[in-house]
């Protein structure tokens, strides 16, 4: 029986300023281990804001977020950083690879920051990750020598470097062609099959339909939740 990987309880994100706005407005949500959840909604609806809250990149104004059962509102910045490093993997719309380092070193970065493995183990694991994503030829290439799809796959490899339980992806296919989009989504789908929790924000409803569950956000609130078509059919 799977347990809850991410739980949002009354999450609110309010931005104060000249123009105050409520980006996330009282969201209650549970995402199970091994579940693939797609978050959709119109631009400015608060889906990315919700994702950043769930990824501990941002702090909620109100409410509580639980990661693998652990309440996070009272954690220090250092503890949140450590939790991100060990438990959460990020994939963004833009690959954000370090441009001066080859693919291998980019994948090594989170492992070296966590420091749980030896140098040899880290290198072997990074190479294996890149190979598993079809990037064996790209190991020693700089990001600017790779195609958009390859860069995004390197970014996925980096997100997986520390064996995170949760993968959070913000429009990971937003800058990719259809072939690369399909590849990236298949990889994410496979990760969920390996019992990892995958939460993806996407505008692409067809892709969202391939998730276990689709959550539609409008004005910072959950407007609709449904099982993915393919998953439901499957």
């Amino acid at each position: 029986m799977s347990s809850v990987a991410v739980q949002a309880a009354g999450l609110v994100k309010r931005v104060e300023g000249a123009v105050s706005a409520t980006l996330v407005n009282g969201i209650d949500l549970e995402v199970m281990e091994g579940e693939f959840v797609a978050i959709t909604g119109p631009s400015g609806s608060g889906k990315s804001s919700l994702l950043y809250l769930m990824g501990l990149l941002d702090a909620p104004t109100e409410g509580e977020l639980y990661i693998c059962g652990q309440a996070t509102s009272r954690l220090s910045d250092w503890q949140k950083a450590q939790l991100r490093l060990s438990t959460i993997g990020f994939v963004f719309q833009f690959h954000f690879l370090l441009p001066e380092f080859p693919a291998l070193n980019n994948v090594l970065l989170p492992m070296r920051a966590l420091g749980r493995l030896s140098q040899a183990e880290m290198r072997a694991k990074a190479a294996a990750l890149l190979q598993s994503l079809g990037l064996e030829a790209a190991i020693n290439k700089l990001p600017n020598q790779l195609s958009g799809g390859q860069r995004q796959r390197v970014a996925i490899a980096r997100a997986l470097a520390n064996n995170p339980q949760i993968i959070i992806a913000d429009e990971p296919t937003g800058n990719l062609d259809s072939v690369s989009t399909d590849q990236v989504f298949s990889i994410l789908r496979d990760l969920a099959r390996q019992n990892r929790t995958v939460i993806v924000v996407t505008h692409d409803l067809a892709l969202a339909a391939r998730a276990d569950r689709t959550i539609r956000i409008v004005d910072g609130k959950i407007a609709e939740a449904a099982c993915g078509v393919e998953h439901a059919e499957g």
Partner: protein, 412 residues
């Protein structure tokens, strides 16, 4: 931590032009600061050496540090006499042989008694006031460099003729005297003696070369009509810097006023301190300016690397670790700058030490005094590295304060 060094190394090596400018800035600051330190300390040491070589390290005079009690005070405990007239008349140092023997048992150096008076010297109608010091040449060589500063004749020749004298070069020139010339010495006591000049010395200090003469102690005693008295003891120590302590110990033991060379030149040494302070400020300014280059480069790099900083923070790499990347970069640039600057400083010092100046008064050629010591390199290098690290603190701190979400949203 290895990956921090790797990232820092990649940043600095991928920006060769900026790194080179940073290295150049630090190297220039370090090089010129080392040169200034060498020059400053070299000049100061040269001057102090000359001073210390020329004069005794401690001079014991016949001035009592306390006035002897009145007979009534000595006879009756209840009597106290206040407001006695000034210092008692100087009557010379009593029991000089006993005091000298006692001091020799513990003083780390040599001691020589002497008798110092004011006198007149004249030759062929020319007459000048001089400081006349009666010495024992055999003991004098232990407390002063007089014997090695002789330009004609010898100090031991004082023994060879009665009333012989050794005079300064400037004075000899003024008098037209040479070794072998006969001069007459006279004092306010109305006593005069005639004898040959047996030696001419030059210390290179005008006041001494122009107004000092040396005779045997007994000649000085005859001129002062005080045949058994000395009024000064001069001490030369193995360690000139111990003079203050030794002077106070002699004073406590003998009751005679003892003056260390530092006390005798207190005004001069105080001026050196002010000079040191000003030079420190100048050198600090030089190092500070050189670190602006580092500040500028780190600011540029952190600005260019905002995306990298944001993504590293989003991955869970702590802010302090990210900040330390830029401090490491600064220290890397600083280290190369310090090494290059040390080489530059050494070359500058070496080049300057080859330059000679002609003394307009003596006509002697003198090299520019430079003091070579590893201490300058270590201190300037460490200060420079600390300045580099501090220079990187603000831009790196500002850069790592960036909120990853702001950058990620902006890029998206």
């Amino acid at each position: 931590m290895g990956f921090l060094f790797e990232i820092a190394w990649t940043h600095v090596t991928n920006r060769i032009r900026q790194t080179f400018i940073g290295v150049l800035g630090v190297a220039t600051g370090v090089g010129f600061t080392i040169m200034m330190s060498g020059l400053m300390q070299g000049g100061q040491r040269d001057f102090i050496h000359m001073l210390v070589d020329t004069m005794p390290h401690v001079t014991v005079t016949d001035e009592r540090t306390s006035i002897a009690g009145q007979p009534a005070e000595q006879a009756y405990g209840a009597v106290q006499v206040d407001n006695r007239a000034g210092a008692e008349r100087r009557s010379g140092i009593k029991n000089p042989n006993q005091i000298v023997s006692s001091l020799r048992t513990w003083i780390p150096g040599a001691i020589a008694p002497s008798f110092k008076i004011s006198a007149m010297i004249n030759i062929s109608q020319q007459r000048f006031g001089v400081n006349l010091t009666g010495i024992d040449p055999q003991q004098e060589v232990r407390v002063s460099k007089l014997a090695s500063e002789m330009r004609g004749g010898s100090l031991n020749d004082l023994y060879r003729a009665s009333n012989a004298s050794v005079i300064g070069e400037s004075l000899a020139t003024k008098l037209g005297a040479r070794v072998g010339s006969n001069v007459t010495l006279s004092t306010g006591e109305g006593i005069s003696v005639s004898g040959p000049v047996v030696g001419i010395f030059r210390f290179g200090i005008h006041d001494i070369d122009d107004g000092q003469i040396y005779v045997l102690t007994r000649t000085a005693q005859v001129l002062a009509a005080r045949p058994t008295v000395i009024n000064e003891m001069r001490v030369r120590l193995n360690d000139a810097l111990a003079a203050r302590d030794v002077a106070s110990q002699i004073e406590a033991q003998t009751g005679y006023r003892s003056i260390s060379w530092q006390e005798a030149n207190a005004d001069l040494l105080s001026a050196f301190k002010i000079r040191d302070f000003i030079m420190m400020l100048v050198m600090a300014a030089m190092l500070l300016v050189s670190t602006f280059a580092i500040y500028s480069i780190i600011s540029t790099i952190t600005n260019e690397k905002r995306h990298d900083i944001a993504i590293m923070k989003s991955l869970g790499i702590r802010e302090r670790l990210v900040q330390s990347i830029f401090i490491i970069e600064s220290i890397m640039i600083g280290t190369v700058g310090v090494l290059a600057g040390s080489a530059l400083g050494y070359i500058l010092c070496l080049s300057i030490s080859q330059i000679t100046f002609t003394n307009p008064f003596t006509g002697n050629k003198q090299p520019v005094p430079i003091y070579f010591t590893p201490t300058h390199y270590v201190i300037v290098g460490l200060i420079s590295l600390i300045c580099c690290a501090i220079a990187a603190l603000l831009p790196s701190w500002k850069a790592t304060r960036v909120h990853p979400v702001d950058i990620i949203r902006g890029a998206s």
